[in-house]
Symmetry: C2
Subunit: 282 residues, 2 copies
């Protein structure tokens, strides 16, 4: 997905929010904003939002000297999600269709996204998403693909959301490789966040090799790209993965909540929608 | 009030929204955004948000060739407000304290602000503001000042809000000079918007001489500045006037709804608050 003009204000907002999370004063916040203004003036044509955000959040880390501004937020998100894990697990176990409920819960967990918003009500979101009609619904194609694949690459998104992903992986009928980010960006999960969520107990953990949101293959490590190419089926969580993989071909299924107007417009659905969407080919 | 860093993304958002209202295509929208990025990189220290917005909206008008991008929105706002004017008038006439109700209605009308938000529910706002406690409440000082002044300068804000201002002016016990903007900026009322609201029937109309939101005295005409200096009492409507006159001294009373986090922080009250605040001295 291309970067829309509406993304410009959002990058500034993210830069400011990340700078404040990094604890720097107003003079440094302004210095970060000025660097972001320069970046926005010279965006390469066709850059996806995560490619721009990659530069923006690198600047915040460089200017603040803080390697992981969202570390505290990520740990808190994981704690909150683990606290309700038993209730969520019971929902799956008692469901008529555990796979369907687990898919919904994994999408519900996608609300934990500090790139799109600063706050959310986690349990309210769970209750909503459990009963919400899908705005785009390729679940049957996903089920079909799950029945045929010998393994699955699961592209994670945010810390805390990892716990919801674990619930889905626990009911998936095939071995799963779970990929986290290779370094901090926004509140995206890195290896320690995946471990804190217990994902090592249910999947093989790898990382993208990149400190970028979504999956920008050109920035990823060779070993990640090999795993990506070898995967017969990929679940890609969240807006960042949709933004980078919406045209990555039919082995990719994007599972997400639509949390901003730009994604809503690109998908042709309202903000607040839940989506399971098989990617097209560019 | 100074320009906060949180205003930066908001200026980009406003520029984009105004460009689209002007009907220009994406290439020109991008050209506007790039000019705004340059402007934001070199803000003079201490600039108020309306001073920055003044440059931003001039760029939109220059780049689009559209003299008044909000013309249609302003006319529609006035029509909507006039449609409920009889109901609002009845509320004032039936009130135990007509002045108090009219002040509340004038603040309710301040929701019609396309700088802060793209949409609102007008009647819902009226019903809310009629009963909402004030977050800051200098109404008694305002009443006292009204009883002593021989006339009043009323600094208007947005088209449509003008109709709500008219209701207040109709119960004020002294002659009123009503000031609109000297040229188009955002959905701020200009002379034709005031006339469409019938304000010429209840007040002497003047304009600021400036196509800027709020009241930036250095940009205003000599004749406006004379009226400003001569006024024993000033009612200043909306966020823009608060941003430019919050330290203009005790003859100024700011009446507004708090519609963004920046104003909320500056005033120390929550978003959604209603406020009557006597200005301090710088």
């Amino acid at each position: 997905m291309k970067t829309y003009l509406d993304c410009y204000p959002c990058f500034l907002r993210q830069a400011l929010s990340a700078s404040r999370r990094a604890g720097v004063g107003e003079a440094r916040q302004l210095a970060v904003l000025r660097r972001v203004l320069d970046t926005l003036k010279s965006l390469p044509p066709g850059a996806t939002p995560p490619e721009v955000a990659h530069q923006v959040h690198r600047m915040v880390r460089a200017e603040s000297g803080v390697a992981d501004p969202y570390r505290q937020a990520k740990e808190e998100s994981t704690r909150q999600a683990l606290a309700i894990y038993p209730r969520l697990k019971a929902l799956v176990e008692q469901a008529d269709d555990p796979l369907d409920t687990a898919i919904r819960l994994s999408i519900a967990g996608n609300i934990i996204d500090f790139g799109a918003r600063e706050s959310y009500d986690l349990w309210e979101t769970v209750e909503r998403v459990l009963h919400q009609p899908y705005a785009l619904d390729d679940r049957e194609k996903l089920r079909e693909a799950l029945s045929q694949a010998d393994h699955l690459l699961y592209l994670g998104d945010n810390a805390g959301e990892t716990v919801f992903d674990r619930l889905l992986i626990e009911v998936l009928p095939l071995p799963v490789i779970y990929a986290v980010k290779g370094g901090p960006v926004l509140n995206d999960a890195t290896l320690e966040d995946a471990l804190a969520a217990g994902l090592d107990e249910v999947a093989t953990l790898i990382d993208t090799g990149a400190d970028a949101a979504g999956t920008i293959l050109s920035l990823c490590s060779d070993s990640f790209r090999e795993a990506y190419e070898a995967a017969p089926l990929i679940i890609a969580k969240g807006q960042g993965n949709y933004e980078t993989l919406s045209e990555a071909g039919p082995k990719v299924f994007c599972l997400l909540q639509v949390k901003c107007e730009v994604i809503a417009r690109d998908l042709g659905v309202p903000v607040g929608s839940i989506v399971v969407k098989q990617s097209t080919r560019a």
